[in-house]
């Protein structure tokens, strides 16, 4: 089999999407940690357009953007499929992936650097959007993928682990069991899946990372927030 390498950044949930997909399909790969404050020649060569991680390099060919990488992985290694076989079901999964991208991103960008009363307002907006996901995508299922995790679970994975650290940094919780009971249950179920449990960044380090990041964003509030070096797709 041709060599598989993954360029990543340890706190990035987008990088972990790719790690989980590769591990779920039992694909061997080399992980290369990028220092985003000092981008390697490898990163600049393999993702010259966006200069972001994750980048998957398979047999010397580079693929960037986490969602594009996930679709590539699904096609190249069809074992343990992450998307439904039925085209309509597949389209629904992709719809919810797009929903997360389109609807959640601006709300998240308002929530994470929010201060004072803004935090409650942003948390409420977040809850409204997550309620739609809970009702219409998750429903009564254990996972978004049904009985086992699929691509939608992987893409929403940020909510299951990274988000707790962000909530603690902001100081206002969003995924309250009384307001989002099924999503709250999903968070716990998702973290228990062995591939996920065994592939998560260190909680303490992640919390410190987000606290520092939030401080930077809050103090830079008079100008635009610092763009992220890991992709937000």
């Amino acid at each position: 089999m041709e060599e598989v390498k993954l360029l990543g950044f340890w706190p990035s949930p987008f990088v972990y999407r790719v790690i989980w997909a590769l591990k779920l399909k039992d694909v061997q790969f080399d992980y290369i940690e990028e220092d985003l404050s000092n981008k390697s020649e490898l990163l600049l060569r393999y993702n010259p357009v966006l200069k972001k991680v994750p980048v998957l390099i398979h047999g010397g060919k580079a693929i960037a953007e986490s969602l594009v990488i996930l679709e590539y992985i699904e096609e190249t290694w069809p074992q343990n499929p992450l998307l439904p076989k039925d085209p309509h079901e597949k389209a629904l999964a992709r719809f919810w992936i797009q929903f997360g991208l389109e609807k959640m991103r601006p709300i998240h960008q308002a929530y994470f650097p929010a201060i004072g009363e803004e935090r409650e307002k942003a948390a409420k907006q977040y809850q409204e959007v997550l309620k739609i996901v809970e009702d219409q995508c998750l429903g009564d299922q254990r996972f978004f993928g049904g009985e086992t995790i699929g691509m939608v679970d992987i893409v929403y994975g940020m909510l299951a682990y990274w988000f707790e650290c962000m909530e603690e940094a902001v100081g206002v919780k969003v995924i309250e069991p009384s307001i989002l009971p099924r999503l709250h249950a999903w968070v716990n179920n998702f973290k228990q899946v062995s591939v996920i449990k065994d592939n998560l960044p260190h909680h303490g380090k992640l919390l410190a990372y987000y606290k520092t990041l939030r401080e930077k964003l809050v103090s830079a509030r008079s100008t635009l927030p610092t763009p992220s070096n890991h992709d937000a797709s």
Binding site: V68, Y72, P87
Partner: protein, 233 residues
């Protein structure tokens, strides 16, 4: 598939997103029924079939709805196989197409809105940003045109051509209305030639709003933002 298929597209004449879906069906030679939606008076079917966003385009295939233009295009490609393909077979080449489709789909909408709705310094800044994006795109699409020949014919439209047509073919009207170039034939000759060839393709000409009509719409629309009448706030 037994019996007659039902293929219905809910769209809106001015929306580039619903044009994409129509163009994809035309490229594949699949007949479809079209329902024109009025945003102020949405049909009950639209509200039923896209309860999450209540937006067009929505494809209803044998009674099953699919929303989000890119999700719809991937669905069309999967379901209708015995006709021209929109994506390459090779997973890596497919990933390259999806990367640039994503780039075009995400990067230009907001910035073009700013350019049309503003003037002076704000518009200057947005123009300079879009010129950067155009340069990156011109460089990026070289992989799809290895001969680099600026005069070529776009024979069989693929997914990238469809997205590019519905995003870029309207730029010449915007250029006329704002009095500035966005895609410069001298600075970015490959992208310019490609967009020009797309605009002259018979199927694209069937769906895009003709230049003069678009100018007559964009002109007053731009004026409503930069010189709002005194009665409006």
């Amino acid at each position: 598939m037994a019996g007659k298929e039902s293929v219905i597209v809910h769209g809106m004449w001015a929306s580039p997103y619903s044009k994409r879906v129509e163009l994809a069906f035309k490229v594949k030679g699949i007949p479809y029924e079209y329902v024109e939606e009025d945003f102020k008076n949405k049909t009950p079917e639209l509200l039923k079939y896209n309860p999450v966003h209540k937006k067009i385009p929505v494809l209803v295939h044998n009674g099953k709805p699919i929303a989000e233009s890119l999700v719809i295009l991937e669905y069309i490609e999967e379901v209708w196989k015995d006709c021209p393909q929109l994506l390459p077979n090779d997973p890596y080449e497919k990933a390259q197409v999806r990367f640039w489709v994503d780039f075009i789909n995400q990067k230009f909408t907001d910035i073009m809105m700013t350019i049309i709705k503003t003037k002076g310094e704000v518009q200057e800044k947005a123009l300079s940003q879009v010129h950067e994006l155009i340069k990156v795109l011109d460089e990026g699409i070289k992989i799809f045109f290895p001969d680099g020949n600026p005069t070529f014919e776009v024979k069989n439209l693929g997914l990238l051509d469809i997205i590019a047509s519905t995003v870029f073919c309207s730029f010449s009207a915007t250029e006329e209305v704002i009095g500035a170039k966005i895609i410069d034939p001298e600075k970015t000759p490959l992208l310019y030639s490609w967009v020009k060839a797309l605009g002259e393709h018979p199927l694209v000409m069937e769906i895009i709003i003709p230049h003069e009509k678009l100018v007559s719409i964009l002109g007053p629309w731009r004026q409503s933002f930069i010189n709002p009448p005194p009665s409006q706030s």
